[in-house]
Symmetry: C2
Subunit: 101 residues, 2 copies
């Protein structure tokens, strides 16, 4: 896929990092965003594997179904703190969370 006969590679219409640049995010910021998304995916998977509804998780966690939905959606209004509390209240261990990084 890489080596067609072309001398010059096609101009990329945009390059990786554009969003980061556009929003002027540091590498640390980017990593944090990725971590959040990874964790939210982990949480959704964990909930499903335990056959719980978002409502049930919300109760464990002391919050509302809608917030759990936002947690799983990677909504920016959800902090890492809340993500980790969710993870712990779902019984995830540090080891399992490492997967997200």
């Amino acid at each position: 896929m890489k080596t067609t006969g072309n001398k010059k590679a096609v101009e990329p219409r945009w390059v990786e990092g554009d969003v980061q640049t556009f929003l002027s995010l540091s590498d640390a910021d980017m990593k944090l965003i990725e971590a959040r998304l990874a964790i939210s995916r982990l949480l959704k998977a964990a909930r499903k594997s335990q056959k719980l509804t978002q409502k049930a998780v919300a109760e464990k966690l002391g919050t509302s179904q809608s917030r759990v939905a936002k947690i799983e959606a990677g909504d920016p209004s959800v902090s890492l703190d809340l993500l980790f509390r969710s993870a712990f209240s779902l019984g995830l261990s540090g080891k399992e969370l490492v997967e997200a990084f």
Copy 2:
């Protein structure tokens, strides 16, 4: 260590979990608090091993020296988000962090 001749074990003057109970913290809350402390220790160690001052770290991180002090002190006014951003900006990986749990 378990089986001395005593019929009855000494009354513990307080049992583990008292603080938790007193403040009515969930297990998830406790784990989060422990995680925070673990990370703050890690951060302090990382900074020192890189021979940086709090001021220098503050600049990397886009904040003030005083907040870095609070980060390292495990001050409750510091969120997990900030702890992770600090860690990343010091070059620590997510894995290293989560393994500290």
